[in-house]
């Protein structure tokens, strides 16, 4: 009896919090489908006849899709390079026994605990001296450097736990290290690569700091920088503002619902720094 009552209380607590979480997301979604006046008249219900004018406007008459594409480009390229060079380094650090290896590993790990933003002043100068200020391409090396410590940590740990026999057999067969990497290591570490990809996807997709610092020119704006400008320009037009916010969040939310286990695992691992 007492047990049942605790359960009820637990359900009530979780339901109350779920409401608090879902309420803002729900209002964002439903109100993006309404005309301005309907938002103010009845902000919480799903509109009987959804009004897609806001979506049509944002997708057709603004640079939203361009910004989307810019972000996808940066995210894709960064994740690809990070996974490639990160896994190469991790493969070496997992097998290479010696003082130098230990030192390099610690050098990478120290980057997990120190926020990269603290180096912004000099990063700004470096990117400027490369002539990449205002350009998307300036973001990519910075994002790769940002993601590498976590990638090296996750991947090295994972490779160290792989069964040694598989690799030893290949070594006896005379396979080169590069061959072992591409034929054995990469297929085996796929789950860990997924974790690293998710951490980076979220970090880069949602980042506003570096696009702001690098003062990206209009045609190079990332999605979140675009959202900032849209929010300023559309300020009084709530439908458009909410459409922009919805479109900027929905891809990630959908992906999260599809693979929530991997997301939770990856992001929690990414958050534990140290």
């Amino acid at each position: 009896m007492r047990h049942r009552r605790t359960n009820l209380i637990h359900y009530l607590i979780l339901l109350a919090w779920s409401l608090i979480v879902l309420f803002p997301v729900w209002t964002m979604l439903v109100n993006s489908l309404k005309k301005q006046l309907d938002i103010f008249r009845d902000p919480f219900v799903f509109p009987p006849s959804p009004n897609l004018a806001g979506y049509r406007y944002v997708l057709q008459d603004s640079d939203f899709l361009l910004y989307c594409w810019n972000t996808l480009f940066v995210v894709g390229l960064t994740i690809f390079v990070t996974l490639f060079i990160g896994s190469l380094a991790s493969y070496a650090l997992a097998f290479w026994k010696g003082k130098a290896s230990k030192f390099l590993y610690l050098l990478f790990l120290s980057g997990i605990m120190i926020p990269i933003r603290l180096g912004t002043i000099n990063i700004f100068q470096i990117v400027r001296s490369l002539g990449l200020m205002g350009s998307l391409y300036g973001l990519i090396p910075v994002y790769i450097a940002w993601g590498l410590p976590m990638a090296v940590f996750v991947l090295t740990t994972f490779i160290q736990e792989l069964p040694r026999e598989l690799i030893e057999v290949a070594e006896i067969d005379g396979a080169s290290r590069m061959r072992i990497y591409s034929n054995i290591i990469v297929p085996l570490i796929r789950p860990a690569l997924g974790t690293v990809a998710i951490i980076n996807l979220i970090n880069i997709w949602n980042d506003i700091w570096f696009p702001l610092i690098f003062n990206l020119k209009e045609s190079h704006r990332t999605l979140m920088l675009g959202v900032t400008y849209f929010f300023g320009t559309y300020q009084t037009d709530w439908t458009k503002v909410l459409v922009v916010l919805t479109l900027a969040t929905l891809p990630i939310i959908l992906l999260y619902i599809l693979m929530s286990k991997q997301f939770i695992k990856g992001l929690t691992a990414g958050a534990i720094k140290g």
Binding site: V21, L148, P149
Partner: protein
Amino acid sequence: MAQAKRRFRKDHWFFFTIPALVIYVWFMAFPLFNSMRMSFYQGTGLIPTQFVGLQNYVELFTNPLFRDRLLGALKNTCILFAICMGIQNTLGLLFANILAGRLKGRSVFRTIIFLPATMSVLVTGFLWKLILNPHWGAVNQILVRFGLKQFEGYPWLGKPETAMIMVGLVTAWQWVGIPTMIFLAGFQGISEDVLEAASIDGASALQIFWKVKLPLLTPVIGLVAVMTFVGNFNAFDIVFAMTNARGAPEYSTDIMGTLFYRIGIAGQHPVAQPNMGVGASIATVIFFILFLGVSMWMYLRERGSRVQ
């Protein structure tokens, strides 16, 4: 000769680390170090070249223009930390304790609790800014509907007394999923035998929580606290979205991140030029605060494990 060759083969492990090493050192490790060095320099151009010793720090700590802002930002960041510890992490502990049980549908709740952590801080901030809008926002409408007429048109983000608290609450709303998951892993690590033994001894659920689970969870609580600390001293986006980079109103939401951005990069009133030297010294101050926090955590953890 043969041995030297073996020691540095064509496919020596070192070569595999080169690409990652170059990018990491060039764009992260070196700039972190170099930014600290720059805190000893001044100059009018974009790269400070004139060595001035500790003058940037003297400026930062004594010039009222900087000092008042620095103290204000420190205070506000501490408020943010207090709200995150008191609300976000306490709720996380509560949710984790519930989710560790055998409740039906707990994976659905877990997914919902974690959802905001996948959203952009910027979007979260803008969204809550609309919800907290004094005239049209849902919060005030609901409060008024419940008969709390005094909140009609109350500008939550426009008053220095409430703005920082709102920023802290939204931060807690967004990140509560992370401590929840970490505490959940901690609870799941406590052996069933211990809990069973306590339960046979007649301990109530509440007693088990306070006397058995919580002491066993101390290291995890420390980890969450230090993560929150680092996160708060690195925060920027939420204030940028909800109020602005000037920490409106009247600098009441100005935190270390916005202060660093304003002075080091964007340039602040009344000088519209960034002061990179002083900016670098702010970054260094943040670094040392984080270093102090993390060291303290490591010291306590070390001492705790020795006692056990």
